[in-house]
Subunit: 144 residues, 2 copies
DNA sequence: CCATACAGGTTTCCAATGGATACCAAGTGC
DNA sequence: GCACTTGGTATCCATTGGAAACCTGTATGG
């Protein structure tokens, strides 16, 4: 079974068969758009893509730059992004081996769309933080 | 400690103290923008917000509409969105009790930014699926 | 010769997360 | 008294994510 098999824990190989897809309904589990959204809506994909949109980077450079990412997640997420055609992986047989990741035109398109969200987050952070404080206060803040 | 405490499993109450934040570096773990992005970059938030942007909805209406969401996740995610000030929760003391969720102006702003991503996903699905097939073929597809 | 370091991972282990299911409250209908 | 409604919580268990160890292959230092 080539479609729907699981490859790497946490990043499934889900490629829906054409006849299984329901176009136009993001709320249907098998809608391709929703599956794509699920894939990139994780903690790390956006961050990686955003860094690569500025310049090509190597594995450890990404790791150093993204505070808190583990090697496993960086490795897994890069593999997923590569599979989705959003980044490329170039191995140069230097010593030690050099692996350079770069964003593809496809990935650039996504970044363009994501930038609007980053900008929203930056401009609305204060309001959100205020809302959180108000909520915590009203719900007497000791529920944790 | 009011800030940084954990409330609901899966949706932490993370409100960084002002002096701990690093503005302008999304890659820093304590950057407020990154924390906000982490919060909304999950499987369900975008879907819920998108539905509520069209019309106010009740708990079970949302649950029925979003294929695959569990009551627990819907409940948790709505609570988080409410805390972030992106949705409101209105309880009417009917019988059985009626709870209506609505998007706030703040949430509307986010939806506007997200729509670009939905559109990108819809227009680029085919390319991504093609990339996945190519990847799976090249990596002889049986790695799962 | 052995230890160490580098880059770029994979494996292992364990805690946190998510999903399925059962349960709860409070009232209505039968 | 039982089933059924809405809007949840509690519980159980599988999957996921993070920390750290290990691996491959080469070069450097002692």
């Amino acid at each position: 079974m080539q479609e729907g098999t699981i490859s790497i824990p946490g990043h499934r190989k889900v490629t829906p068969s054409p006849h299984e897809t329901r176009r136009g309904d993001v709320y249907a589990a098998n809608c391709p758009t929703r599956q794509l959204l699920d894939r990139i809506a994780d903690k790390w994909s956006a961050l990686i893509l955003l860094l690569l949109s500025a310049e090509d980077m190597r594995f450890n450079a990404l790791k150093r730059r993204i505070e808190g990412i583990s090697q496993k997640m960086l490795s897994q997420t890069l593999r997923s992004l590569e599979r989705d055609g959003l980044v490329t992986r170039a191995v140069e047989p230097t010593v030690p081996v050099t692996v350079t990741y770069a964003i593809t035109p496809l990935g650039c398109g996504l970044i363009g769309a994501m930038r609007a969200m980053i900008e929203w987050a930056e401009s609305c952070m204060i309001e959100v933080t205020a809302a959180q404080r108000a909520y915590d206060l009203h719900h007497h803040a000791d529920q944790g």
